[in-house]
Structure formats: structure tokens, C-alpha cells
Amino acid sequence: MVELALQFIVNGLVTGAFYALSGLGLTLIFGIMKVVNFAHGEFYMLGGMLGYYFAGVVGLDYYLTIVIVVAAMGAFGWLVERGLIRPLRSKEILTTALATIGLSIFLVNTTLVVAGSTPQRIPTPFPSKPILLGPIVLNEARIFAVAIGAVAIFTAHLLIRRTELGRAMRATFQQREAAALVGIDVERVYGITFALGTAMAALSGVLLCSIFAAQPTVGDLISLKSFVVVILGGMGSFAGAVVGGLLLGVAESLWGGFFATGYQDLVGFVFVILILLLRPQGLFKTEVARV
């Protein structure tokens, strides 16, 4: 029983790491830029699908594939910000939500048409032989994926906290006019932030789809769970998103394992409902949501 619980927890930490990574991407876009991006799950999905295409169909090297996917999706994110988000920036937040819903529908269905609905696994150079840590089963692919994810999270943290660009980002999202007044190119910051968020979602997608399978329809749930992670952690809080992601992963795994797998996705929704009712500022923030 205990071994089972431990295995569930470790599995949950693995998926949780990717929820965290994707959630971080959305923290940038939703928590900081305040854009309600319903296409976030689709960015994740495209990361996975492109990963399959380059590594599986074209046959490129796995590591190179990851780099290409992240770069390509980052560029795509920048274009989306330019074409869809920027024109609506002066409108209310919900107009942008509707636009991203449209984008989400468009991306899912176009991908379905182009790639079909069969789940595809991204081929990795790692052997699928299991590694045993006591009673817990792991394999190289999972360890690698989590490691890369952790590196990405840490890099993003350094970027925001220690670089000039990071300072510009924080300034812009705190007080846009003031940031513009001191000479920050605000439009550029928006574009880069959105691109970064998209790239993180895509990275999460390509990594997770190396372990599980890539499929055009995973996006919807991932979007929602990313929102859960952001809200759980507290909007705009990096540490919160990481903890929130891991927490969600572990909770889902335990619930699904011990209770019923059909109800697994319920966990995230229940979490978000409870958090918004009981502690809307999330686990890590101190401001409150509304009157």
C-alpha cells in the first residue's frame, strides 16, 4: 500500500513538473500580462505534435528537435501576440478571452485535419528499461524530462529576476505608462513575454509527449489545468505556480490511483473552485480578488 502510494506520488511529481512548466508559461501570460489565454493548452499540444513531426516523421535528433520546437513555438507566440492580442489590448479582458477561444478551436481542429487523431509517441534516444529506486519505478526519459523542465523553470526565474529584459518586463506589467515614460519599448516587452509563455508551454508539451503520447485533443484539459495552477499558486507568483503544479500532479495521481481514474480530472476543477471560494489570492499571494 505504501509502495503504491509512493509510486503514485512519484508519478504525480513527474506530471506535476509539466503542469508547473506549462503553468509558469501561463503565469507570464495570464498572471502578469493579464491575458486570458484559452489557447495555452493548444500551444502545449502543438509542442508535442511538432516534436513528433520532427523527431518521428522527419527523423531529426531528439535534442535538436526540442530546440527547434521551442524556437518555432516562441516565434509563433510572438506572431499570435502581434496579430490577435495586440489589436484587442485596449478592449476589455474578456474580448481577448473570446479571441483566444476562437484560436484554440481553430488550432485543435486544423491539427486534427492535418495530423489525424491517433496518439503519437515522440521517439527518444533513451532506453525504456525501467530504473528501480527501492519500490519506485522510473526511467531515463522521465528523469531527463523533469531535469530539463527544472532547468527551464530556473532559467526563466533568472531571466525575470536578474536581467535587464526581466526588469523591463516587471516594470511594464506593474505600470505600463510609467515604463513607457522611462523608455522601455512596451510593445516589444509584450511580444517577448507572450512568446516566452508560449515557448514554455510548448517545451512542456514536447517533453511530456516523449513520455506519454501526443494527441491533438489534449489541449483543452491542459489549458484548464494550467489556469488551475496559476490560480492555485497565486497570479504572477513563480514559486506558487511551481508548487501548484506539483501539488496538482500529485493530488491527481493519488486520487486517480486510489479512488477512480475516471474522476481524475475532477481534482483540478475542485481545487480551483475551492481556492477561488476560500482563498482567491492563491496560496502565495496576499492581495484579494474583488468586492
Binding site: 479582458i93 476562437g102 481553430f106 481542429n109 485535419v113 484548464l224 475516471g262 475532477l266 480551483v272
Partner: protein
């Protein structure tokens, strides 16, 4: 302005009564029946999105509660259709009360996500609680509505029932819009704090609006279940939600005529695009993006601007 809108509504209603008398094609009638259903459903969503100004992505919760309630009431409890339908509306309204009470204090984006979460929770419950809902297999073979000795079986019969329900629903919405409550809701939509400062309680106004919208959606759900004769968990899904949204947006949110136009447009569009079945949904997504960017006030808004310019 108001007179113009009333005339348009009456004109549409008259056309809706007369035109089908000349139609004999069952398929075309099916489209018109679905248009009536969607007109009612879109109008109910319009109450929340257009008049109250909140983007609720969980409206399918009420649609689904209504559909399942009505289906189970007739199949398991043997209730007559009209009773089952009212029960459906009631349950949906209670759902609206509960969900609204829990969510309406939340800010815009949070409200969006938590309402969506509720709908998803219901979908998961419907999919897994096999004892109650028959799980993914759903409730099938739902008996057609009967009013005393009269059993509804023909397309025309269903159509006029649907039209009656839609007309009553839209009349209710019109009554609401022109009442103090409706005006208060618009005030809240335009500026919550200012509304509050003149004595309007945004929460109460929101809650009443929400419950009314839920009731109407529940009625629509009941009609849907009895017409299609099948209700499954996907009724809580995002597909219906997206359709509803596009109708409200394309037709023109915050207007009475808008949802009707939107329902007609989207129902016909869905059929027209049936030939391109695979890319139909992609086009939907693209259309939604385009609408938001180019025509945010929808067809009704376009008509208004033309009238003002001309």
C-alpha cells in the same frame, strides 16, 4: 430604437409562424427546429454575457441539468412532458442559484474559469455516475412529448413547440431588459462601482439575472432532450458552449434580436459547411477570431450603425 426592435421581433415571429407552413422537407424543418432551440439558448446566454456583461463559460451546466432532469423525469418517474420540462427549468434555476452564489463575487477572469470548471465537473459526473446518468451511453429513447391525447411526432409539431418556447423565453428576456432589473444589470455591466454607488447591489442583480438565464437554458435543454431523444455527457461540453458564444457574438450581444439572428446564422452555416465537415470547426474558430477583431457588436450592432449612419 425600442419600437424598431419590437417591430423586428414581431416580424420575425410572424415569419416564423407562417414560413414553415409552406415547407414540407423534413430536413429543412429539422434545421428550423434547431434554430428555435438555439435562439432560446443563445438568448439565455445573452442575459449573462450581453446584459450583465460577464463571460460565463459554464452555461452548458444549466443546459445539461435541464436536459438530464427532463429526460430522467419522463423515463424514470413517468412524469408528463410539461411537468418534466418545468422541473428541468427549476433544477437548472437552482443550479444557477448555487453556482451564481458561489461565483458572482469573483473578478472577470476568475469568473470565467470557475464557471467553466463547474460545467466540467458536471460533465465528469455525468460521464462516470453510471447509476444515475448511464454514463457515456447516456439516456436514450426519450419518449416524445405528449399533451393529453396529443403526441408530438412530426417535425412541424416539434417546430411549433420549439417556437412557442423560444417566443416565451425571448418575451421573458424582453420583459427583463425593459424592467428596472435589466437596467440595473446594464449599469453594473458598464461600471460596477458607479452602479454600486447609486444603490444597485451588483451581486444581487447578477444573481437574479443568472438564475433567470439558467432557468431558460434548462427549458431549452428539456426541449432538446425530447426532440433529439438522446442526452449524453457531451451536452456539458465545450462544443455547445462555443456554438452559443458564437451565436451571441455574431448576432450581437446585449440586444434582443441578436441571439435570434445568431442562432439562424450559425445553424444555417453549420449546414452549409457540412460538405466541408472536417474543416467546419476550424472555420468556426477562425470566424470567432474574426468576429472579435472586426465585428464585436455582431450583426445587430452592424444594423444599428447602418441605421444611425443612414
Amino acid at each position: 430604437m425600442r419600437r424598431g426592435e419590437d417591430l423586428t421581433l414581431l416580424g420575425l415571429f410572424a415569419a416564423a409562424i407562417l414560413v414553415p407552413l409552406a415547407i414540407t422537407d423534413d430536413y429543412l424543418m429539422h434545421l428550423l427546429i434547431m434554430a428555435c432551440f438555439y435562439a432560446l439558448l443563445a438568448s439565455s446566454l445573452n442575459l449573462v454575457v450581453g446584459y450583465l456583461g460577464e463571460l460565463s463559460l459554464g452555461h452548458t451546466a444549466f443546459l445539461g441539468i435541464g436536459a438530464y432532469s427532463s429526460a430522467l423525469a419522463t423515463m424514470q418517474l413517468g412524469l408528463p412532458f410539461w411537468a418534466a420540462m418545468l422541473l428541468a427549468g427549476l433544477f437548472a434555476a437552482v443550479g444557477g442559484l448555487v453556482i451564481g452564489y458561489l461565483t458572482l463575487r469573483l473578478e472577470g477572469a476568475y469568473f470565467v474559469i470557475v464557471t467553466l470548471s463547474f460545467a466540467q465537473v458536471l460533465r465528469l459526473l455525468a460521464n462516470n455516475w453510471v447509476g444515475l446518468t448511464n454514463g457515456p451511453m447516456g439516456v436514450s429513447g426519450i419518449v416524445p412529448p405528449r399533451f393529453g391525447p396529443l403526441v408530438l411526432e412530426s417535425k412541424h409539431a416539434f417546430y411549433y413547440l420549439g417556437l412557442a418556447l423560444a417566443a416565451l423565453g425571448i418575451a421573458a428576456v424582453r420583459f427583463y431588459v425593459q424592467s428596472n432589473l435589466g437596467r440595473a444589470a446594464v449599469a453594473v455591466r458598464e461600471n460596477r462601482n458607479v452602479a454600486h454607488s447609486v444603490g444597485i447591489d451588483p451581486f444581487t442583480v447578477g444573481l437574479i439575472t443568472f438564475v433567470l438565464a439558467a432557468f431558460l437554458a434548462g427549458i431549452a435543454g428539456a426541449f432538446y432532450g425530447h426532440y433529439i431523444t438522446f442526452v449524453g455527457p457531451e451536452i456539458f461540453g465545450f462544443g455547445f458552449m462555443a456554438s452559443m458564444l458564437i451565436m451571441v457574438l455574431a448576432g450581437g450581444q446585449g440586444t434582443l434580436v441578436g441571439p435570434i439572428l445568431g442562432a439562424l446564422l450559425v445553424t444555417l452555416l453549420q449546414e452549409y459547411l457540412r460538405a466541408a465537415q472536417e474543416i467546419r470547426l476550424s472555420l468556426f474558430g477562425a470566424l470567432l477570431m474574426l468576429l472579435v477583431l472586426v465585428m464585436p457588436r455582431g450583426l445587430a450592432g452592424l444594423a444599428q450603425s447602418l441605421r444611425r449612419a443612414g
